[in-house]
């Protein structure tokens, strides 16, 4: 994807991204789970990754911080502050983790160490970096208060299993913030929570973004979450980008039938479950992609060409599309 926008609008500072992922590919023994995904995160902005379960969102996000499973290998480029993290020395990659890029994991119950107090886990990175004990404690209490945990003094000494799901997620966020990162990767930060708690956690993330200028990669399969928080979205299907562009524009006027189907399936706000009704048909496995357009077996617009020819991700330039719209559909202009 040739990015001309930098040359066209040099005056706009936001077009110089802090993180620039180019042609990222993640390969597992069973095959490529992430296939040529590119996106950027400008300082202070939020880029969302959206798609059904198994579409490669977590793998994409983990590749950025080098937290892929042992069996996975990543190629392409992850340019962070003018350095490609994929080829950076391990020392530098460790330094980035936690201190420059923090991570909030998908399931806070599993992501917290069950036998360490919450305070110890939040303070670990500070203690490791040589902050004196008393100062670590003070910082931990400050962090816990900042993520909205009541009674930080008491909570710091309790164990994860003594807390509710929402509180654990707040702890997880406190851990991610402890090293004062500039970018936070939040992998489905609300999926494991009930609807009320979801709203509170989202409000917290939005608040951190507004007040502290944190940049974020937000992974979710919930469009409502995206609409609230993301500036840009990347819609993934079977490990590939189906569509990407400015969040509002993509959701208001999709250029890919898959995005349109996701948008049509958003549950009512009153719904008890946060997870959208599954689309008809099973999601394509990245290990066994259908020929041509991977979405064709489920696409209501599919034609012969879709079965034989892989659609390239291309910029949509038709009048009224707005800037920065990309779609991997042969017939993108006919979608809306």
């Amino acid at each position: 994807m040739a990015d001309h926008s930098v040359a066209v609008a040099p005056a706009n500072q936001r077009t110089t991204p802090m993180l620039e992922v180019t042609d990222l590919e993640v390969v597992l023994p069973a095959g490529a789970v992430v296939d040529r995904v590119s996106f950027t995160v400008p300082a202070g902005r939020t880029t969302g990754l959206i798609g059904e379960s198994g579409s490669g969102k977590t793998m994409t996000a983990m590749a950025v911080v080098g937290l892929l499973p042992d069996t996975a290998s990543a190629s392409g480029e992850v340019r962070w502050k003018a350095q490609d993290l994929l080829v950076a020395p391990e020392r530098r990659r460790r330094q980035v983790r936690g201190r420059e890029i923090g991570v909030v994991f998908q399931d806070p119950s599993a992501a917290l160490n069950p036998i360490q107090t919450v305070g110890r886990q939040v303070g670990e990175i500070l203690r490791r970096d040589g902050l004196p004990r008393t100062q670590v404690r003070a910082r931990v209490l400050e962090l816990l208060a900042r993520v909205g945990l009541p009674e930080p003094e008491r909570q710091a000494d309790s164990y994860p299993h003594e807390m509710s799901g929402g509180m654990r997620q707040r702890v997880m966020i406190a851990i991610a913030l402890a090293g004062q990162p500039e970018l936070v990767i939040a992998d489905e930060p609300t999926t494991a929570l009930d609807v009320t708690t979801q709203a509170r956690i989202l409000a917290l993330l939005a608040d951190l973004r507004e007040r502290e200028g944190l940049a974020m990669i937000l992974v979710s399969h919930d469009l409502r979450v995206m609409a609230h928080v993301a500036d840009e979205v990347v819609v993934m299907y079977a490990g590939r980008v189906a569509e990407q562009g400015p969040a509002r524009a993509v959701l208001d006027r999709p250029y890919h039938p898959y995005t349109r189907a996701l948008a049509a399936n958003v549950p009512a706000v009153t719904s008890r479950t946060a997870i959208a009704e599954p689309l008809p048909g099973a999601p394509a496995s990245p290990f066994d992609r259908p020929s041509g357009c991977p979405f064709h077996p489920r696409c209501p617009m599919a034609r012969d060409r879709c079965v034989t020819e892989v659609p390239a991700l291309r910029e949509i330039t038709e009048a009224g599309a707005g800037p920065g719209r990309f779609s991997a559909c042969h017939f993108a202009e006919e979608v809306s």
Binding site: R94, Q95, N113, P114, I115
Partner: protein, 310 residues
């Protein structure tokens, strides 16, 4: 509460000890040859035997004998060793430190070497290091300890002349029997640590630890190890008892002057008082060790502490 949990464990332990005492009492009654006959030898007159039977209380009803036995046992009195001509418990306790030393040395070797091997192997399950270590520990666990002991004596003591083959007291004499005794236990600790570490490595919180920019070593020592140790502690607690039993065999191979040597001799001589005292002492130790393992287990994992409250 922790206290009720403890009390329950303690009650179970006491009950088990009572069972052991009863068994020990019964076995001596069932064993061929009256204690008095055995003690006095084939040349004794019937009068002498009858007199000793009376002194030992063997002419009283079994129930009375049993109650007397229990009463004495609680005070640590298992009667006279006819062979050593002094209280059996005294003879047993004199040999006990040597056995404890041997068992402890083997335990320390097994814990240190086993945990290191287990962590190295379990860190990357399925790797070459893992497969090599696993095969080696499996092999070691299968070897009969006394055979290993004899091989070690042949190679290190008789052939290379690095260490003494038999005798006791000092560190030099301790090394071979302790290593021999520790081998199957080292292999066991290694395998249990390995499976615990391998399982913990796949937990999501390990990735959280990595997301803090920790080195692999910090991840292992700070997060993985303690989470994998619960089964290791349990096994160590349970197996130290078995090890105490294993020491009996190893002691005779290396002529280590411990309880095992004494016990084997006592069985051969039908010195029942010593057999009883030694057996009960070993049982009390095993039960005490299991209780300690339960405690350590609960301390390691706060979730168990919580469960204990129910």
């Amino acid at each position: 509460m922790m206290l009720t949990f403890l009390l329950r464990r303690l009650a179970i332990g006491l009950f088990t000890i009572w069972g052991v005492l009863t068994a020990v009492f019964l076995i001596v009654r069932i064993a061929p040859g009256d204690q008095a006959t055995v003690a006095l030898g084939p040349d004794a007159t019937p009068e002498q035997i009858a007199e000793l039977r009376h002194t030992l209380g063997l002419d009283q009803p079994v129930l009375v004998q049993y109650l007397n036995f229990l009463g004495d046992a609680v005070r640590g009195d298992f009667g006279q060793s006819y062979r050593y001509g002094r209280p059996a418990m005294e003879a047993v306790l004199e040999r006990f430190p040597a056995t404890v030393t041997l068992t402890l040395a083997a335990t320390v070797i097994a814990i240190v070497v086993g945990i290191v091997l287990g962590v190295v192997a379990g860190h990357r399950p399925g790797s070459l290091v893992d497969r090599t270590t696993s095969a080696a520990t499996l092999g070691l666990q299968a070897l009969p300890p006394f055979w290993v002991g004899i091989m070690l004596i042949l190679v290190l003591a008789l052939w290379l002349r690095l260490l003494p083959s038999a005798g006791g007291g000092d560190l030099e004499h301790l090394i071979l029997p302790a290593v021999t005794l520790s081998i199957p236990f080292t292999a066991l600790v290694g395998r249990i640590t390995r499976s615990g570490v391998a399982e913990t490595m796949s937990e999501a919180f390990v990735r959280t630890a990595r997301s803090k920019g920790l080195t692999e070593r910090e991840v292992l020592t700070g997060h993985v190890l303690k989470n994998s140790l619960v089964p290791v502690v349990t096994v160590v607690g349970l197996q130290v008892g078995t090890l105490l039993g294993g020491a009996v065999v190893i002691e005779t191979v290396f002529a280590w002057p411990g309880l095992g040597n004494l016990l084997v001799g006592a069985v051969g001589n039908r010195d029942y008082a010593v057999v009883q005292a030694a057996t009960v002492l070993i049982a009390v130790c095993v039960i005490g060790l299991n209780l300690a393992a339960d405690l350590a287990y609960a301390r390691l994992d706060p979730r168990i502490r919580l469960e204990a409250r129910r």
